[in-house]
Symmetry: C2
Subunit: 391 residues, 2 copies
DNA sequence: GGCTCATATGAATCGCGAC
DNA sequence: GGTCGCGATTCATATGAGC
């Protein structure tokens, strides 16, 4: 089993533009080499990578299409099907063994909080999903890539196969704090949370890599829009993305553009070389364009007491809810007093409404020049002064 | 394991309205009892049905949701989750064993040309799909039911789980001639072939069954629109549809409306009784409304020779293509002669174009009062006279 | 009756850090 | 490692009250 860096010299000269130093850190480097394509069997190669070093995995494994015969269009032209050797397996057992092996190896190199996307069709995705569950991955979503321009069903014997399925999974069942760019996705989707069905066109036109004779370089090149949404959903700038079936390098090209690092594994030298050239031509986006949207959860925690200490609200002040149905008195220690009960802004807010929980920051309001304003505005002031002090 | 007909008396009196005689045919009946709900374990019940007797199976098995804790909405109200005992399994192995058992039993009662739809979510569908492939089912499509009104993700930690997946499969790998209403679906879809992604609302409002206290009768009642599309896609009027997880009887209600027969298997007496009442209230659509659109494939085959025999085209007549680039002579035996080559209308058409195949009916034209018309028009005439003769 | 507003709800594997 | 407590989080529909 031969595993070698493909055109390593070319890669370091061409691709290190986006990340310098990584390959020269020598003995003191804490992270594996990044932004490389390693040529060879992906299982062997993953076993050589550092354990728990990768933030995100995107995998587009062979689909095991099992095409029995040639297919022609109604005009008798031949459909250029996926008939490559890499998509041939003796039977389901062979495909399962292959799947178990590469998924296990991928799981080893994932950080505890890393997640993985695997794409497939009905030919293979059920086996892939079951094996993922068996190996301990924890499915977060299955995502449907709806193609707005799929190939029709030429024989009229089935529904147009108009989608592919991705499985998004965490490494472990208990995994918390995996990266999910919820706010950013929502903001870019009419302020509506992103759904599990994504409508995107297939890869055609100028984006589709062609060889010198005009033939497509890779039979199943994925669209960059798909990878962009995957990478933006589940990684941060600077994160390391691993693609064990790199193919024509869509993952690398999008990772570079979005200022993520990548490692691509590919057996086929023709694909790997095409990917090298492709990625070299990519220009990373400006940093502001790829910075992760700050989420409320990531903001520093502020104690309500610090508002009192800072003099933003006086002890003895009365807080009310927006509809002035409840009133509580601010104590010097930062607790609230509500008709005899003393507790946090959250506890008193919950008690006032008879609910099990409450966000006191948005429930309680203070009077500001005759206007009722949520105390969250005062928290924002504190956070702004903290940020100013940090600069 | 108790298996019994639920309210059989009620069923025969209430439901036999749509189909009379089936339950009384006694010894000479060739088909099993139809339009019944059988109460009990679906595996035992399926083993009691005649082998190869069912035209279509729709199955909505437990999803094995594995919900660990309670979930509240942002307004602190509690989500009414599926926490029924029937959805609880010890582990994946137990779920797999259950799945293998019911799928095997279902496969036994399917006719060779029958097909099956199984619906599920990411919790179970990958296991179901892999087991179906292992058992010898041949997947025709995976179909995505996109919900236009799914429950949102309240914690903002995942994509909105906005779809469920159906697997449509034939009993065997080689199955041909399974029922697929391609033309009808296409005609009802802006003359565009039906895709593998279906956008349908979830079951709410008046359609949702409620008990006397106003609570939903069944936690996972499927919308009738979904069943209607399934049944219209893969069965004909009078076909027998089996639903081994009948629940509130959506499959039976839609089957009756569309003039299909059904057998429903259900363990829970409350669900079964609700289904009886529900189906009794259904009025079948007029026969014309559910007659299968005649497909081109189902039309009787016509030999070109019979056109000659019928005198619709004379031996020695010259046929041309639409652009008059080729000319062939009609022989008395129904073959064509094209510059020395003698063959069928299809073979000569292919030869003329240098293509591997050709539909001679649409390629070759004859001269009709100075107008060039495809010989397919003559075939249509023959078919019309055949139909007239049959009536 | 028509409109606005408030409320209810659906197959859901739904947080995270400090102590 | 378990417990505690802060405090972040929802979309499309249907229904019913109130005006």
């Amino acid at each position: 089993m031969s595993s070698a860096r493909v055109g390593a010299a070319r890669l370091t000269t061409r691709i290190k533009v986006t990340r310098t130093g990584d390959l020269k850190d020598g003995p003191r480097r804490a992270r594996p080499a990044r932004n490389m394509i390693l040529q060879g069997d992906c299982v062997s190669l993953m076993k050589g990578l550092d354990a728990e070093s990768v933030d995100l995995v995107f995998a587009d494994p062979p689909y095991n299409l099992q095409l029995a015969s040639k297919l022609t269009r109604p005009d008798q032209s031949l459909v250029d099907a996926v008939d490559d050797d890499w998509d041939k397996f003796a039977d389901f057992a062979a495909y399962d063994a292959f799947t178990r092996e590469w998924l296990s190896a991928a799981r080893q190199v994932m950080k505890p909080q890393a997640t993985i996307f695997v794409i497939g069709s009905y030919h293979n995705i059920f086996r892939v999903g079951a094996i993922m569950q068996d190996l301990g991955f924890w499915i977060l979503n299955d995502i449907v890539w709806r193609k707005n321009n799929p190939m029709p069903n030429f024989r009229g014997r089935r529904f147009t196969n108009a989608h592919e399925t991705m499985i998004w999974a965490a490494r472990d069942a208990g995994a918390k704090n995996y990266t999910f760019n919820y706010e950013g996705l929502k903001a870019g989707n009419e302020d509506c949370q992103m759904r599990s069905d994504w409508l995107l066109p297939i890869c055609t036109g100028a984006e589709r890599l062609k060889d010198a004779t005009g033939r497509k370089t890779h039979p199943t090149q994925k669209p960059e829009t798909l990878l962009a949404r995957v990478i933006l959903s589940a990684s941060k700038a600077g994160d390391l993305v691993l693609d064990p079936f790199f193919g024509s390098g869509t993952t690398g090209a999008v990772a570079k553009r979005l200022r993520r690092d990548y490692i691509g594994l590919e057996r086929d030298g023709t694909y790997a070389n095409a990917a090298v050239a492709r990625i070299a031509a990519v220009e990373p986006l400006p940093e502001e364009a790829v910075a992760t949207a700050p989420s409320k959860r990531s903001e520093p925690r502020i104690a309500f007491a610090s508002l009192v200490e800072a003099g933003l609200i006086a002890p003895g002040a009365v807080l009310r809810d927006a509809k002035k149905r409840h009133a509580a008195v601010v104590r010097a220690d930062g607790a609230l007093s509500l008709s005899g009960f003393v507790g946090s802004i959250h506890k008193t807010g919950a008690l006032a409404q008879g609910l099990p929980a409450c966000n006191g920051w948005t429930f309680w309001h203070y009077e500001d020049k005759g206007r009722l304003a949520p105390i969250d505005e005062l928290r924002t002031q504190i956070r702004q002064s903290l940020r100013a002090a940090a600069e």
